[in-house]
Symmetry: none
DNA sequence: ACTTATGTGGGACAAAGTGGGAAACAACGC
DNA sequence: GCGTTGTTTCCCACTTTGTCCCACATAAGT
């Protein structure tokens, strides 16, 4: 399971080293795509196949699902992990997520998210405040 | 069942020894996550899997559950217990809970909580004052 | 008082993360 | 065609952090 939070640096050559804890589970070929709330989603090849299949199953019927499928599929990029555990972030994804020198990796079970540091800090601060309320709601379904 | 209160020290290397009474029940691999009221939650691998599964079942459709899943999952860290019964607290969790040199372990049935000493003292003092009121509320449902 | 268990500290070593240079490659102008 | 420029890829090296191991101190039990 992919969990945890790590701060890494995106260097001038657009290289980004993956946290060691994620390397084994992600494998040598991974998929990076546009995510929600302005971050990037990272999947292992295997997980990506499942996601792609589910997006395909949504069908062509509705405009909104077509849009979401395009968002995820067209925004996807297959990248190799190099010998020192680093990946190259394509320009359009770097721009999309507004990645600067400092980025945050966040493991969320089946995927890893890549955030611009400032956005992540702002997001977590907001969620922290809401966490108590959310916990109460979820408590009702026995989650905690 | 995990019960009791223990004061331990977090050293310069961010090492923290677990109270002996908790070691057996928690096992060799444990999970530390962001908790509520500014403390950390500690679960055994087994307990954590139950929680992670329920969080996974929430799906990534809704914004609020996505937020809470990120809070709990990205806020989590799987840590090993070393040969002398110590764990390493990641930086972001140390910052989150504002842990200083002295911390408090509190056993709460299925989980252990880790508190900054001052927050714990303040929290318990507050709860003590409210205890009689809380007891009345709980008395109404036959708990006490 | 002696032995055992527990909590704490420090030093040595290994590994992770990061930066920079050299080689390979393509695009461009002269 | 040739050289220049800029980009990409690979490899090496440095710095910091994490990990392991051992030692000491205090407390508890015999």
């Amino acid at each position: 399971m992919l969990i945890g939070e790590y701060k890494h640096t995106l260097d001038d050559k657009k290289r980004l080293s993956l946290p060691v804890k994620f390397r084994q589970e992600l494998g040598k070929k991974i998929v990076v795509t546009r995510g929600l709330e302005g971050c990037l989603f990272v999947y292992s090849q295997k997980e990506w196949n499942l996601i792609a299949q589910q997006l395909g199953n949504l069908g062509m019927g509705q405009q909104s699902t077509r849009g979401f499928a395009r968002f995820m599929l067209a925004g996807a990029s297959e990248v190799d992990v190099d010998s020192s555990g680093r990946i190259l972030i394509p320009d359009f994804l770097k721009d999309f997520a507004e990645l600067k020198n400092k980025v945050v990796f966040a493991g969320v079970q089946t995927r890893v998210e890549i955030w611009n540091e400032r956005s992540w800090d702002a997001y977590t601060r907001r969620i922290e405040k809401e966490a108590d309320v959310l916990a109460e709601q979820l408590g009702g379904i026995g989650a905690i």
